[in-house]
Symmetry: C2
Subunit: 352 residues, 2 copies
């Protein structure tokens, strides 16, 4: 119980840049297909979206990696596209996400709603409450949403893309349509995160997974500006519980934008694997940082993998305010034993 | 004829960081589907690979954008995968490239040849000679190849990828196989560029289009190291014509690696659109830089597009050694008149 009680606080303490006896660790997509138990639950549920929409199952898979691998934080099991269904999008997963009705005109954007989360995603809020009860204080629960630019990419393209060329084309050629869409997404996501916090989420993360497609100029105008809008709305909301809930802003491909990230208003900057954490620390100033092992390192043999973990910890340095994570999500073909090796290595090598 | 004679030297002078009366401009994929005349040639040829393998047609499309839009350099029409066919790969374009026999084992790599370009790609060398004659000194001709890491991505995956996960998995889990492949690719590409220069190419560019998938650590080990090997072999080759042929190293997603790029041995660093050219100039020291308008800006209305061109020129500054380019290639749905607008804006706004 001593380790449990300590672990309960590690993640939140690191987010607030308070001293910790060792570096906390969790991983993006830690509840996922690399775990045999997850695959079993998914088969029983009959698919990904069914799991997201059934609080009992979302709760079950959220806890699996905590029980099996001992991460220092749980993250709500869901998908960033789930809350935009209530805006008017028709979404399916085959297994990659596909939107049947992507946005192409001003009229399409005008038709989108900014839904009340208690009506559009009651099952997510039920899942948050259920997970909090099931965790019983063992580790904190992180809620999350997609950042507006990343969601706009899907809303316009209708599916994943290497270059998000269609989305960027619309935002470049008809900026008013792009900004109207981004604003509606920002308001939807702020309400969504607020509802998650009200239901019990103890930290929240905005995922800007595709912002790395933008020039520095456009990152400021199209990504950062709307992530900041979400964060400002969240902090200004009547139910916001003060400074107690850390806000993490994760940007995949963040290297070009490091100097701008502190203006997001986030407490923690989450970074991908293509930046040196020592440089991130220098450039984001007084904020905590989260990251950033290349997930593909999990394919390495144990000894070089352990060495890579040590390099991330060394780059992060001794100052308070580092949460160990991958630079992107776990892949289905990764070995849970290598994941365990990383968790154990972080615990051992970061002990102060 | 005065403008032609001046233009002939502009590009090479800028590569050598000599003063120029205005900034030279060319664009990656300037011979391509956005030009109606290119599409007509392609239809007549019966496909992309047929154009690459028919010197008359490669020559024809290489010159089209010079004649129509007045770029300051021509670039050989071909594809980075063309020279690896002679290593033992079976390649097709449908229209994206597909390799029928990707590499998965040490034995696969051992079977690969390092071919003599005069035997494996005589049609490319004929095209270079033919283009030089057809250009008649109007503008310089750039030869090119894929950088070893980028070619290894295709050699292992067999096709394009968002994350190059299969390629990275092999290089992480079996580093000896990865390094053996990268070494053979480096030797093949060095011989290939040497043959292009011997045939008349007046500058060469290495395209590291997918190196941006790597951590800084792995960029050094897997991408930069082998680009450097190509450049060192090239400079050490018996037919190398001294310092007269500038070598450009283009890295897509270069932001994390700026401090390392000068050690490539290149004369010019080509950068994508996600870095500020002023920062690039500070960090690559005494090298010329090439770039870096976001190609998606070509979807903008004329006035904001012109403004973006001005911003790139402003960031590049007044010091000698800037070649204007896009941060990545032109797309088929782009409007040739917007391309012309950019060329004209560079000529006008950079005039000294």
């Amino acid at each position: 119980m001593v380790e449990s009680a300590a672990a309960e606080h590690l993640f939140l303490r690191a987010c607030r840049r308070q001293p910790v006896p060792r570096t906390p660790v969790w991983m993006m997509r830690q509840a996922g297909r690399y775990l045999p138990r997850y695959r079993a639950t998914r088969e029983r549920a009959g698919g990904f979206l069914a799991m997201c929409k059934t609080p009992e199952l979302a709760c079950e898979v959220t806890l699996q990696p905590i029980d099996e691998l001992g991460f220092d934080a749980a993250i709500l099991f869901s998908d960033i596209l789930v809350p935009i269904e209530g805006m008017g999008f028709s979404i399916d997963f085959n297994p990659a996400p596909v939107l049947a009705n992507p946005v192409t005109t001003a009229a399409d954007v005008a038709r989108l709603r900014v839904p009340d989360p208690s009506e559009s995603v009651p099952y997510v809020l039920d899942a948050v409450r259920m997970i909090r009860r099931a965790l019983a204080g063992r580790v904190p629960l992180i809620g999350f949403c997609g950042a507006p630019f990343t969601l706009a990419c899907y809303a316009i393209e209708g599916r994943g893309s290497k270059t998000w060329s269609t989305a960027k084309r619309l935002m470049m050629s008809e900026p008013a349509v792009g900004h109207a869409l981004l604003d509606k997404l920002a308001r939807t996501q702020a309400a969504y995160l607020e509802a998650q916090v009200a239901a019990g989420a103890e930290a929240v993360q905005l995922f800007d997974s595709w912002a790395g497609a933008l020039s520095v100029h456009d990152f400021r105008e199209l990504a950062l500006r709307y992530a900041r809008q979400v964060i400002e709305l969240l902090r200004a909301s009547p139910t916001w519980r003060g400074g107690g809930v850390p806000i993490i802003y994760f940007v995949n491909g963040c290297a070009p934008y490091l100097d701008d990230l502190p203006t997001s208003g986030a407490d923690v900057i989450g970074v991908d694997w293509r930046v040196d954490l020592a440089e991130v620390r220098r450039r984001v100033g007084d904020l905590a940082v989260q990251g950033n092992l290349d997930p593909h390192c999990l394919y390495m043999e144990p000894e070089p993998l352990r060495q890579r973990v040590a390099e991330v910890l060394l780059a992060a340095g001794d100052a308070p305010g580092h949460i160990f994570n991958l630079g992107h999500g776990l892949e289905p073909d990764m070995d849970p034993e290598r994941v365990r090796l990383v968790v154990d290595a972080v615990r051992e090598l970061s002990a102060r």
